[in-house]
Symmetry: C2
Subunit: 224 residues, 2 copies
């Protein structure tokens, strides 16, 4: 392991869109690291000690020091390995905009997306509408740019692209036609996969994620 | 107005802890700006156009370009006016830690604090316990340091100090003894007020905030 990198360990879970962000960020910077898959029903002592506040993956442990929360991990990776593939523009306004949309993805898209496969009735109907409205806002923000930040793949792209692996579950359980309603987002996702090895090598197969969500629905008793 | 500052407008509401963060950050940097108080029941066209996604204060408008979400505003202010009173350490790990605690304050302390004055029964009881556990985590993180980042007032201090103005409401409606259980946090809050004019000139009187929360409880029907 190169000395400049130090020891890098990622505590993660394969289907987590938050974990995928950290994996893509590390791959963008070309960092070698040890991937440790966590059993979320029986979390390792290392995870509990490294993230005692939230007890959640992903956790990046760099030279023994843990960093939690995916958006903070991605920013940390960018700041430590700053000489390669910057995730942010140097312009403060563009940086603020990127942080705004990443925060929107966490607060709105993720939270509403969860409801699509875990609720029924009125709550589900409200979530369907809000989820599509979130995606349409992102479709509008992307516009005709190749990536969210413009010409180069960056922070918002890293924050959002893992959600693409959950689209089949969102579409099926939300009864949505994302491909039809958000063609620019779909083209962007395919562009990320085609142009960025950091993405194509990180994202799991869509069917695998769909199967995982299907199992989860059975466990919470919403599907038999 | 100095040319380097450009035109700076803050759309805000006096009792908002999020708005206070932006005001303290601007004061720390010595930025002249126009403060515009919003009527939250009748939001201005400028607010709705500047933050169409969340429609919330605070919004910082710098040379006509809006920045929303208080933590993003504070980071933007730090990055634009970087020559004075930096809010972050230059060390990436310290920066990640600061971002972690600020995020914790937003996700946990704020969300739980809301429940103290807006719920009853079991939900209220659960919120009481979680709120005190949040404060105790912050008490432990502060430890014997003068400020959260160490010797100098920074990002976590800016994120948390506005909550001090809500403590009387939290204590009263949560039936909590914050002063007794978190003496280091209280000493830290008094230190911020005593040592930082940016804080003492920004924070409203505690009684004013308490009166505001009391009125809010009447409006939502939890108090007669």
């Amino acid at each position: 392991m190169a000395k400049q990198e130090g020891e890098v360990i990622l505590l993660d879970f394969w289907a987590s869109m938050f974990g995928m962000r950290a994996r893509i960020a590390l791959a963008e910077k070309g960092i070698h690291y040890e991937y440790r898959e966590e059993d979320l029903k029986n979390k390792s002592q290392l995870l509990l000690e490294s993230n005692p506040v939230h007890k959640k993956i992903p956790v990046l442990i760099h030279n023994g020091k843990p960093v939690s929360e995916s958006s903070i991990i991605v920013q940390y990776i960018d700041e430590v390995w700053k000489d390669k593939a910057p995730f942010f523009s140097s312009d403060p306004y563009a940086r603020a905009q990127a942080r705004f949309w990443a925060d929107f993805i966490d607060k709105k898209l993720y939270m509403t997306g969860r409801l699509l496969y875990s609720t029924k009735g009125e709550e589900h109907e409200a979530a369907r509408k809000e989820f599509m409205s979130c995606l349409q806002l992102l479709e509008g923000e992307l516009g005709d740019k190749p990536y969210f930040g413009g010409e180069s793949f960056g922070y918002v792209d890293i924050s959002l692209i893992p959600f693409y692996t959950w689209f089949q579950a969102y579409e099926t359980y939300g009864n949505l036609a994302i491909k039809h309603e958000c063609p620019k987002l779909i083209a962007w996702a395919k562009r990320c996969i085609q142009n960025k090895e950091s993405v194509s090598k990180t994202l799991p197969e869509l069917e695998q994620v769909f199967g995982f969500v299907q199992q989860m629905r059975k466990k919470i008793g919403i599907e038999e």
